[in-house]
Symmetry: none
DNA sequence: CACAACAACCCACAATTACCCACAAAACAA
DNA sequence: TTGTTTTGTGGGTAATTGTGGGTTGTTGTG
């Protein structure tokens, strides 16, 4: 289970150093094999350990082929999903097309989200966080499921 | 299971280099034998390993012969399906008529989609991707199967 | 039968990537 | 503090991969 934020720098080759505390964990469960893909609603990337990813891909593939919305999601999410591995130094090389999608250049944010990580451009995340906070304070109309949530 | 995007260049003879990571996989399961055909909804091509293709063709052939829509699909999909093989350098020669159908000239996209690959003209895919993303961000009315999907 | 068009095969070079090593910076211990 | 270990960063090099094109063989056409 991943959680927490980390400020990470991308180097000139597009590599990011995974925080040391996660390295052993990632090596243990999949020998460092991960899958990175795009988030379709936000300009950010999602990173899954391989074993967490596989059932997701299976579910997406099972969607009906002639449903346009399903095809759209398959093309976007499976289409962008790329296998990556940590190198000997605990770094991940993020594919150029995905870096471009999320606007990742140097300063970025790595955020634990349960079974996956999210990667954001730092500046973009700061703005988005701000707008999320504002939305929370205005929104009186939360969905049912949330109204009953007790933190 | 195929996934991920790759930028590929077609050479003057209409050949594309398969990304190295897939070559061994393709050789192992069918000795590099593939089937390429058209996608009827989009100007793109679909490439199947031979063993994945065969049940699909069988299913299409089983459709009722007197149903005009079925005949249409059979003619389009089976009609355009062509056997191809990787050459010694891991390249595929794409048949000229299919290249023309998908508007493939030089810069193209190869996209893993589960049991198959899709081939797109780069520019065409970029436009399509953009429209997919816009649809994702607007669509409030997703089909049932998708509403409950948790990624 | 001769020719043209095309496809298969081969080789060689260019470009890119993966792997490795070395150092800098930070964290921790004594 | 000072020394020691861990973590983060940069970049060189060798190996792999991508690209172009020449030559030979095959197929179809006039």
């Amino acid at each position: 289970m991943f959680r927490g934020v980390h400020n990470i720098n991308l180097d000139a080759k597009g590599r990011m150093a995974v925080p040391a505390r996660y390295r052993q964990l990632l090596h243990e469960c999949n020998d460092g094999a991960l899958v990175v893909t795009i988030d379709t609603e936000e300009a950010c990337l999602m990173v899954y350990p391989l074993n967490e990813w596989e059932p997701i891909q299976a579910k997406l593939e099972a969607l009906p082929s002639f449903n346009p919305a399903a095809r759209r999601i398959q093309r976007l999410i499976i289409g962008h999903a790329t296998d990556i591995e940590m190198d000997a130094n605990g770094r991940l090389l993020l594919p150029a097309p995905l870096r471009e999608y999320a606007g990742l250049e140097k300063k970025m944010i790595m955020m634990g989200q349960g079974k996956k990580f999210e990667l954001w451009d730092e500046e973009h995340w700061n703005k988005r966080r701000q707008s999320y906070l504002e939305a929370m304070r205005e929104d009186t109309q939360l969905p049912e499921e949330l109204m009953n949530l007790s933190l």
